[in-house]
């Protein structure tokens, strides 16, 4: 029944778009049909086994196509940002953004702009990252494709030193609903760019965000994602296509969220690529934090490092599903993956599925996973030095998760993230005194 409502709503909203390009039209139509057919897959579907999409199906769905004039809070990420892009309920807000200091090597425009000016180019860009396979969120994004952001570093070798701050505001105060955002990033050969992406929300909202990232040879993209979604549910998917000797570094941090599904798919298409996928998450209440990563090592001499660490209290549930796929020709791949989870309470749950699929023999692939409680000896040690048990736990959680981001150069930002994680541990939600 609820899924029925969804597909009707999506259908109605989708029809309000008047596309110029035939390809774009076709894409929208196909996505509509696919969503209509599959809607939100259930637990029987291997890829969605641990994700309670039924929660979303029952939630608010009407796309929020207009954003409020004001944003309900001030962005408070520290550090010097080169530019600020503000997207409210999926709409690129030039009035709230600040692009004045951007050098000419980089172009930032709204996706709606591209959709109107060059719909065929947009369609072909989308084709690069999102195939026609059915995926509930990608289908929704296509069916409701409206706005977002398009970032290009066009000058070869351009090194953009300071990060661009991308702030998503999900505002469900006026009415509950869903917001759909598509972002595209393209780096020219040898270019370097840093992004800090932040999600904030008020009210009941489903945020459906996806990014397509193309990295030309030798380019480097560093991205930090800080999610503080309060009571929102979020799908955040990134598809990265890396060419020779390029580098992708991603640091994901989330503190809370009704239901968060973080999907990353990195494809190494050229030799000598490297990616770092790092994640730290803290869940409380009934938070569901779900992380799915796939690294496709398609060619020789590529490396990847993946560390995801989670801390769960109350009845929070953390999921990690990480796939390392080494294709037949990808000799000398070196891939490391680990997922560690700390459970702080009786009701918390962790599900881990680290996966290796290997078709080449000269490779080094390892994965490791641990699930357990905080070290009682360490807690006692801190208490014997006069630290309260709650404080001791917070300190140990900070130590546990900081492994993930201690490579972050921006100290201010890494401290900020560490604080966020530490504060989101609910001492009331742990089992101990």
């Amino acid at each position: 029944m609820v899924a029925e409502t969804w597909s009707k709503q999506v259908q109605t909203s989708s029809l309000t778009f008047d596309d110029q390009g035939t390809e774009l039209k076709r894409r929208r139509q196909r996505a509509l049909e696919q969503f209509e057919q599959h809607r939100f897959p259930g637990r029987k579907h291997e890829e969605w086994r641990y994700t309670p999409l039924s929660r979303l199906a029952a939630g608010p769905c009407a796309p929020l196509l207009e954003s409020s004039q004001e944003i309900p809070f001030c962005p408070d990420l520290p550090g010097d940002m080169l530019a600020k892009v503000v997207i409210v309920n999926g709409e690129f807000r030039a009035d709230l953004s600040d692009l004045s200091r951007l050098p000419s090597a980089i172009r930032v425009q709204s996706l709606a702009q591209l959709r109107h000016s060059d719909p065929d180019q947009l369609a072909s860009l989308l084709d690069l990252y999102w195939t026609q396979d059915s995926h509930p969120f990608h289908d929704l994004s296509d069916a409701l494709l409206d706005d977002g952001v398009h970032i290009e570093v066009v000058e070869e070798g351009a090194k953009i030193d300071a990060p661009i701050h991308i702030l998503h505001v999900l505002d469900g105060q006026a009415r509950a609903g869903s917001a759909h955002v598509t972002g595209l990033i393209q780096l020219a050969a040898g270019a370097q760019l840093q992004l800090v992406e932040e999600i904030r929300s008020v009210g009941e909202v489903l945020g459906n965000l996806r990014w397509g990232v193309g990295l030309d040879p030798r380019s480097i993209l560093k991205r930090v994602r800080a999610f503080r979604p309060e009571c929102a549910s979020i799908y955040h998917g990134t598809r990265v296509v890396q060419q020779q000797d390029s580098r992708f570094e991603d640091l994901f941090c989330s503190s809370g969220g009704e239901l968060i599904r973080n999907e990353l798919h990195v494809s190494h298409e050229g030799t000598g690529c490297h990616c770092d996928l790092l994640g730290a998450y803290a869940g409380r209440g009934k938070n569901h934090l779900d992380h799915h990563t796939t690294i496709d090592h398609k060619v020789e001499d590529c490396t990847s490092k993946e560390i995801y660490r989670g801390v769960l209290s109350d009845q929070a549930r953390g999921v990690f599903s990480g796939m390392i796929h080494v294709h037949p020709d990808a000799q000398r791949t070196d891939a490391k993956q680990s997922n560690d989870t700390i459970l702080l309470s009786e009701g918390a749950e962790a599900d881990t599925r680290p996966r290796l699929e290997i078709y080449a023999d000269d490779v080094k692939c390892t994965h490791g996973a641990t699930i357990g409680a905080l070290d009682e000896d360490a807690i006692f040690y801190l208490r014997s030095r006069g630290v309260s048990p709650d404080e001791a736990r917070k300190i140990l959680v900070r130590a546990f998760t900081s492994v993930v981001f201690h490579g972050l150069e921006d100290r201010q930002l890494s401290d900020f993230i560490a604080d966020e994680i530490q504060q989101s541990i609910d001492p009331q939600g742990t089992d101990h005194e």
Binding site: P328, R353, L356, C365, T370, I371, G372, D431
Partner: protein, 480 residues
């Protein structure tokens, strides 16, 4: 000869047990419906309750779909083309081993399994299953003195119906999965074993399975019950002739360990793997599960899987009793076109339960080897512990090695650790051995054996030696 050639030749050695025994058999025509089940039950002279059980399972099976989630590619199975019952025709009723068809005795001799008690090492009692039925059990009298029941399943149905009724399907219900349901409907024979309270079984108990007749499926059922404070070590071996068709082996093994009991179950699986191009071979779809029912009970699975075209099995432990222990030690080797999707499930329910998983996968030729395992710590399983180590070794660049663990933890006092690695045999290791005079073939076999050591050391001595040899033979021609 280059190293690659040598490795290839090494991998291409022939399957040793591919012969066919010429023995007259009593078979049902191929096909499966309720009348088939009536006939199987009638031929075995079964009581009504067992026939009812079979029919219920069959009716349930009809509602089920064949699972498609394992990572294997195979031909579809036509269940109407399989012969569900085939037994060597007895010359007359058997009263002792002397009256077993000499043809059959010879077959088992050839397989290295002597059924002659005089000739055997006294440390192992054997139940020999040929196609669908048990043909001989050794040492059952001696075991009976201790109150140990060891023999064919059909016999146990007649002589110990209460035990069978109590435990049949108690660990693997017929509703469990498609092949378990099929087995419950058509199982023909297998081994039954009961160790009374306080008894340490003085010898290894062993069942040897042989598929002989063409077109048959083998659906045996094994049930082992270890009563309070008892101990038993059980071994299982199997071979089949070389045939172009794929034969289905869908067995069910149920283990029940009561308070303080220990069951050690070892398998050396060497069903016919098919030829180098993947023609023929056994489809080995087996459900094995042990229930650690009592406090401080322990079930340990050790398996060496070198045969079968497709292997798909997950010997599991349900750790119900507090402080119970589950173990899984596995070596799975896939060469040529073989595929294996194997692993275990450790279900932690009781308090202070612990489990260990050591899995060694070796892929050669175009073999595909998948470890799939579940560690499930339920809410009440306070202080559960698990350690898993899954290592893969790839020999050559045309094979695949995959690791798919599932870890689900619902109790904060649990401690679960999982590690996995992938490696190859280093050229430097081979050169080091060569430089000491050891041939490449021996070096490969030595390095692979070293890789599997933690598992082999869990096998009973006699089996460990056999397993090492088997591994060397199965690897032949595989290094590239």
């Amino acid at each position: 000869m280059t190293e690659a050639d040598e490795l290839r030749e090494f991998a291409d050695r022939e399957y040793e047990f591919g012969f066919v025994t010429d023995v007259e058999s009593d078979s049902l025509p191929p096909g499966l419906d309720e009348s088939t089940i009536h006939q199987i039950s009638k031929r075995k002279g079964e009581p009504d309750w067992l026939l009812e059980y079979r029919l219920k399972a069959f009716r349930h099976w009809l509602t089920m779909e064949e699972p498609s989630w394992p990572k294997v590619e195979r031909n579809t199975i036509d269940y109407q083309k399989i012969i569900y019952y085939s037994a060597p025709k007895p010359k007359k009723t058997l009263d002792s081993l002397d009256e077993v068809d000499p043809e059959l005795l010879e077959t088992f001799e050839k397989l290295g399994i002597s059924l002659d008690e005089q000739k055997r090492l006294s440390g192992v009692a054997v139940d020999a299953v040929f196609d669908s039925v048990s043909v001989a059990t050794t040492f059952s009298d001696k075991l009976a003195e201790l109150g140990i029941i060891f023999g064919s399943f059909s016999e146990a149905v007649k002589e110990h119906p209460d035990l069978i009724r109590q435990y049949l399907g108690s660990v693997v219900p017929y509703t469990d999965n498609f092949f378990a349901a099929l087995n419950a409907a058509v199982f023909s024979d297998g081994s039954f074993c009961y160790i009374p309270a306080g008894v340490r079984c003085p010898m290894e108990l062993s069942t040897y399975f042989r598929i002989n007749a063409a077109g048959t499926g083998q659906f045996e059922r094994t049930l082992i019950i270890a009563d309070d404070q008892s101990t038993v070590s059980y071994l299982e071996g199997c071979t089949a002739p070389m045939r172009d068709e794929n034969q289905l082996h869908a067995a069910v093994v149920e283990l029940v360990a009561l308070e303080g009991a220990t069951i050690k179950y070892s398998t050396v699986q060497n069903w016919y793997p098919g030829d180098a191009d993947g023609v023929g071979g056994i489809y080995n779809f087996v459900t094995k599960r042990g229930l650690c029912k009592g406090k401080r009970s322990k079930i340990s699975w050790t398996q060496v899987e070198t045969g079968s075209a497709v292997t798909w099995k997950y010997p599991s432990c349900v750790l119900l009793g507090d402080e119970s222990v589950g173990e899984f030690y596995s070596v799975a080797l896939t060469n040529n076109m073989q595929q294996a999707d194997t692993g275990t499930k450790m279900i932690h329910i009781g308090k202070s339960t612990s489990s260990t998983i050591i899995s060694k996968g070796i892929s050669a030729g175009r073999g595909q080897n998948t470890y799939r395992g579940l560690v499930d710590v339920k809410k009440g399983a306070t202080d559960a512990r698990n350690f898993s180590q899954c290592d893969s070794m790839l020999l050559g660049d045309r094979c695949g090695a995959h690791t798919f663990p599932y870890i689900e933890v619902r109790n904060p006092t649990a401690k679960v650790e999982h590690e996995a690695t992938t490696s190859k045999i280093g050229e430097d290791q081979i050169f080091y051995c060569n430089q000491r005079g050891i041939s490449t073939e021996d070096a490969v076999s030595m390095i692979v054996n070293g890789f599997c050591k933690e598992v082999f050391s869990e096998l009973p001595m006699e089996f460990a030696v056999e397993a090492q040899k088997l591994l060397a033979v199965s690897l032949e021609g595989s290094v590239g």
